[in-house]
């Protein structure tokens, strides 16, 4: 076993094990098939939801469990060890409550959102557009006020959970002339007329459903403007600062899973009369892989603790994002190497992990954008 966060409390460990038991029974045997079909197993989501794993971060006064980032990540880590695409979608589907708090949304809206999520609604974060990925303020979606409503028009792409969602946190220009300060955030609902475009066929992370989301004269009541007009971009940046840490837990799960498989294999595969872990070339490779996993885990949980204490994360956010995603990519690549020819075959699970890992250096800001964010912080640091 590639190790765990030893600093978890007894209760955090128990809850993580509960989640592990569910996904090991209900999801693990189906992962290879779902990786081929690209389906999202709603039934597993339902089982986890019945056990209370959905919307765990929603504060208690809104009906949730008010779990901190560390506790949630300990749970998602176990789910991600089975499938990171599933855990990523599952976590994001109920995980955007923090945006409402950050935006100082009205009590009614917070309660409305929490009730929806806790009764099973799926949320999606709609920022990216085909011309606005890294350059997020280049979006062209607009929201025009008409009486008590806003009319939203535009097309979002690469939206996680888009096709499964009934709630959409959508970023749109209310005043293009103000640049990034003209972007506002809205809560739109499927029944407002949001349409789903094409669902992407991706390289990996297949269980995570990624789709185009189309707003064609979608009318939302003015009460579903989140926070203030013109502050949407700031809310997005705050959300990403946190997500760059929390969403990397899924990448850690991938790295750990790959490490576990490589280690098991290296102990039983015999060449030249001994298990390959006894050959120094591979023994040192395995030790080096474990070093990276250990470092990624330590960094992630350190950053989570900083978030949980409400301290400024600064460069930790981009640094963690880059380091953990790079670890997932390098460890899975090395795991394929350890398994040799078998590692390259679809019959064995590591090639899938290598495909799953790649996207973590692309989304939540590419690693290059994160270097830009980090160097920007360094430049202004006293």
């Amino acid at each position: 076993m590639s190790g765990k966060n030893l600093l978890l409390t007894e209760e955090q460990r128990e809850l993580a094990e509960m989640a592990a038991q569910i996904v090991n029974t209900e999801l693990a045997p189906r992962v290879a098939d779902l990786d081929r079909t690209g389906e999202f197993p709603m039934d597993v989501m339902e089982i986890l939801r019945n056990s209370g794993f959905y919307g765990m971060g929603i504060p208690e006064q809104y009906g949730g469990l008010g779990f901190d980032n560390t506790t949630q990540m300990a749970i998602y880590e176990e789910i991600a060890r089975v499938d990171a695409g599933f855990s990523f979608n599952f976590a994001l589907a109920s995980g955007e409550f923090g945006i409402l708090e950050d935006a100082g949304a009205s009590e009614e809206l917070k309660k409305y959102y929490a009730d929806k999520i806790l009764s099973g609604s799926v949320c999606s974060f709609c920022l990216t557009e085909s011309q606005a990925g890294s350059d997020a303020s280049n979006i062209s979606t607009t929201a025009v006020r008409e009486g008590d409503e806003y009319v939203i028009n535009g097309t979002k792409c690469f939206i996680t959970n888009g096709a499964l969602a009934d709630l959409f946190m959508v970023f749109a220009y209310t005043d293009k002339s103000k640049g990034a300060k003209g972007i506002s955030l809205f809560l739109a609902e499927k029944e407002d007329g949001v349409k789903i475009g094409k669902t992407e066929d991706k390289m990996g992370l297949k269980l995570s459903v990624t789709s185009e989301v189309i707003f064609d004269d979608v009318r939302v009541p003015a009460s579903r403007l989140i926070g203030q007009e013109g502050r949407g971009f700031i809310y997005a940046m705050h959300a990403l600062e946190k997500a760059r840490i929390t969403s990397m837990i899924h990448a850690l799960g991938i790295a750990e899973h790959a490490m576990d498989i490589a280690l098991d294999y290296a102990k039983v595969r015999v060449t030249f009369g001994k298990p390959i872990i006894k050959h120094q070339g591979l023994a040192f490779l395995l030790a080096d892989m474990q070093k990276r996993v250990d470092a990624a885990r330590a960094m992630l949980y350190y950053s989570a603790a900083v978030l949980d204490r409400g301290l400024a994360v600064g460069t930790l956010s981009p640094s963690t994002k880059i380091f953990v995603s790079e670890t997932a990519m390098s460890v899975t690549t090395d795991a394929v190497q350890v398994l040799g020819g078998y590692g390259y075959m679809k019959e064995y699970p590591v090639e899938k992990l290598m495909r799953d890992a790649k996207v973590f250096s692309i989304f939540e800001g590419t690693n290059q954008i994160n270097l830009m964010v980090s160097s920007g912080i360094l430049e202004h640091m006293k």
Binding site: E11, E14, L15, M18, Q21, I22, I47, N50, S51, G52, F53, M56, L65
Partner: protein, 268 residues
């Protein structure tokens, strides 16, 4: 409806190995779990509660202090309250003594809870001892009717209706209350624990009932003294290998095949 669910903490036999020299179980590193059949009994009780939320489910286990972990598991799944029956003098009890102690515990818990149990649900058997005796013996000690090998049950105006598993067919049995029902593996899986229940279970008080709580218990009927069963020898049965399976409709054709196979093997 008040239901008492009896559970036993057992080693996870899927993880267990036997020492070929001493013929004893290698217990080191083997996780303890709630006996799966008792899990089905708890699920049956939970299903009664799904239909009638006023149902009260109490779990009881007899065993050492560690068995509280099994009770905590029951609390995180469906039980409202749990009791542990534990005492030095209870040690070494066979099924007869255990069922006697548990039947006394039923009365004690009824007194403490201020309720009367309408039904006592047990697993058909424990996966470690495999005797399937404790449930039926409890029914005898209590003077209650019993249904064994239940798959599912339903509350009726007269009592319970239990679907009982048979070898070739199932039977539907009506039983009056109070009663004892033992459960076997149904076609559905038991529910998972929930976070909220698990966190409450971690903070729950699990009272321990010891010898002193049963002042009028007959000492000659508990522990080793009260156990007529004595283990003469334990051994690992020899594995039989080989064998063939003939398939088809029972009748002359199959008999001919069997004759041919036996003839070829030169045994007839």
């Amino acid at each position: 409806m008040n239901i008492l669910v009896c559970v036993k903490q057992v080693p996870d036999t899927t993880e267990i190995k036997i020492d070929p020299v001493t013929n004893t179980l290698i217990r080191a590193g083997v996780p303890s779990i709630v006996n799966p059949f008792d899990g089905y009994a708890l699920e049956a009780a939970a299903r009664v509660k799904d239909k009638d939320p006023d149902t009260r489910i109490v779990a009881v286990s007899m065993g050492p202090e560690q068995a509280k972990a099994a009770l905590k598991e029951c609390l995180s799944i469906a039980a409202d309250k749990a009791y542990l029956v534990s005492g030095r003098r209870f040690g070494g009890s066979d099924t007869l003594a255990t069922s006697y102690i548990l039947s006394r515990a039923v009365r004690k818990i009824e007194e403490l809870e201020g309720i009367q149990f309408d039904a006592i649900f047990c697993g058909k058997q424990a996966i470690d001892g495999d005797t399937a005796q404790v449930g039926p013996e409890m029914a005898e000690h209590l003077g209650y009717p019993q249904v064994t090998c239940g798959l599912e049950c339903r509350v009726t105006n007269e009592g319970l209706e239990v679907i009982r598993e048979g070898e070739n067919y199932n039977t539907r049995v009506a039983v009056s209350l109070p009663c004892v029902v033992t459960f076997t593996k149904p076609s559905w899986d038991p529910r998972y624990p929930s976070i909220k229940r698990r966190m409450a279970a971690n903070r729950a008080d699990i009272p321990v009932l010891c010898e002193n709580d049963f002042p009028d218990m007959d000492d000659g009927r508990i522990g080793l003294k009260g156990s007529p069963t004595h283990v003469k020898r334990t051994f690992v049965p020899q594995r039989k290998t080989g064998g063939i399976k003939l398939e088809g409709e029972p009748g002359a054709d199959l008999a001919k095949k069997l004759y041919k196979a036996l003839n070829n093997a030169a045994v007839i």
